[in-house]
Symmetry: C2
Subunit: 250 residues, 2 copies
């Protein structure tokens, strides 16, 4: 028996979520080291030269970058396929994934969630309200305007579920952690696509771990997630958390 | 006869260079709209929502992002193949390309070339010496240390030339525009790989256009490149240049 594939990275991260959705839908056995954001130790720095999550290990292969990992999983485990068959559509799907990684990554992960979640709760620092406003009033409306012209009124973007739907929805799941929801009157296609995708059983399964991680102090997360049945690794490369804070307080 | 494939983006850009090397090596007919950096007009903004180059149009398909475009060209024109056949090596090659796009992109395009080339010559602004020093003394040594452990002493990274060699070499070609060369005693594998790759006829062919673009005022570049035989588009989505400056003065 070979060792199961390993993922390093928090359940909270939209980049990790994309990869976990792939693993779940493709039925690949895996373990996760759910290190909280920004607390990787020296081993983590060696495994991830850009200090980003997720990191994947599959036997001898160590990989970084969620897009590269998803494409590897597709190449290695082509069933269930999560990229369109048509070559032009496949390229469009990869571009929409990249657009989400950059534009939604900056607005939602880099500004909204970082300012409203990570800074006050994990670092004990003051939220920069101007950054939150920039994300809510300028960056996200621009991204939603762009996406709205590329999404269908119903169904997934390329008919079957693909990396494009999974990528976009993964970021808006994080936006929900800090109470941001898409205005369905202004962007009905975006709101519809995200709702349809997040309603899938795979997102619902991961959501139970995400919700708990958000409400558990960093130092207790491994124990709590293990007790819930999360498939944890035996060892961790998470470092000491800066504070005991939880990110969401109901 | 269908229209030839079109690329929008400057010969100076390492992201554009990757795509042009693909087109040349795969023998694909193309036209280029070589808009200078940072001067796209409103049409450009519509074609490139992140305002990045290159942009590709192939019939009805409009694509952004050099990594997505290169993978599309590989899927559509699998001969000459520029990705490793082995699935794990293919993933490693994509990761090295991504690492170059981010780490070398930030150090070389974002700091070194921007501060020493674009700012003083195109914008008439003062170079930020601290940023140059950060790139030369901290960022690039860290990136070269990492790459050195992943490169062979001879040959290309995966035997045959691939996206990984092309990506890495494309950035160090730009570093050369502002007189940065890799210290071959400290990083012999990096220096060797870049030298071997840039010596290929395809890089030499593109270099003639790059060298001229660097030494020609922005407003005269289309005419000069056309006279040299560059395969230009009929129309441009380049905007008005901020200054008449040339980037390299011999």
């Amino acid at each position: 028996m070979s060792e199961p594939l390993t993922i390093i990275g928090s359940y909270i991260s939209p980049y990790v979520r994309k990869v976990l959705v792939f693993l779940e839908l493709k039925g690949i056995d895996y373990r996760i080291d759910p290190i909280p954001p920004f607390v990787g130790n020296d081993t983590f720095s060696q495994l991830s030269p850009l200090r980003r999550i997720p990191v994947m290990r599959d036997g001898d292969l160590l990989l970084n970058d969620s897009s590269v990992i998803c494409q590897y999983l597709e190449d290695r485990h082509p069933q269930v396929s999560l990229y369109p068959v048509d070559i032009a559509d496949r390229a469009r799907a990869r571009w929409l994934e990249e657009y989400a990684d950059v534009a939604l990554g900056d607005a939602i992960a880099g500004k909204l969630f970082y300012q409203l979640g990570i800074k006050p709760h994990l670092f004990g620092e003051k939220t920069n309200d101007a950054m939150v406003q920039q994300a809510r009033d300028i960056d996200l409306p621009a991204a939603l305007d762009y996406l709205e012209t590329h999404l269908p009124t119903d169904d997934f973007i390329f008919g079957e579920l693909s990396i494009a739907d999974i990528g976009i929805a993964s970021f808006f799941r994080m936006a929900g952690f800090v109470r941001y929801t898409i205005d369905a009157e202004r962007w009905p296609r975006c709101a519809g696509l995200v709702a349809r995708t997040l309603a899938l059983p795979v997102f619902a399964k991961l959501a139970t771990f995400e919700d708990r991680a958000l409400r558990t102090p960093v130092s207790e997360q491994r124990a709590v997630l293990a007790a819930m049945g999360a498939p944890l690794t035996d060892t961790t490369c998470g470092g000491a958390p800066p504070r005991r804070g939880v990110i969401v307080i109901d």
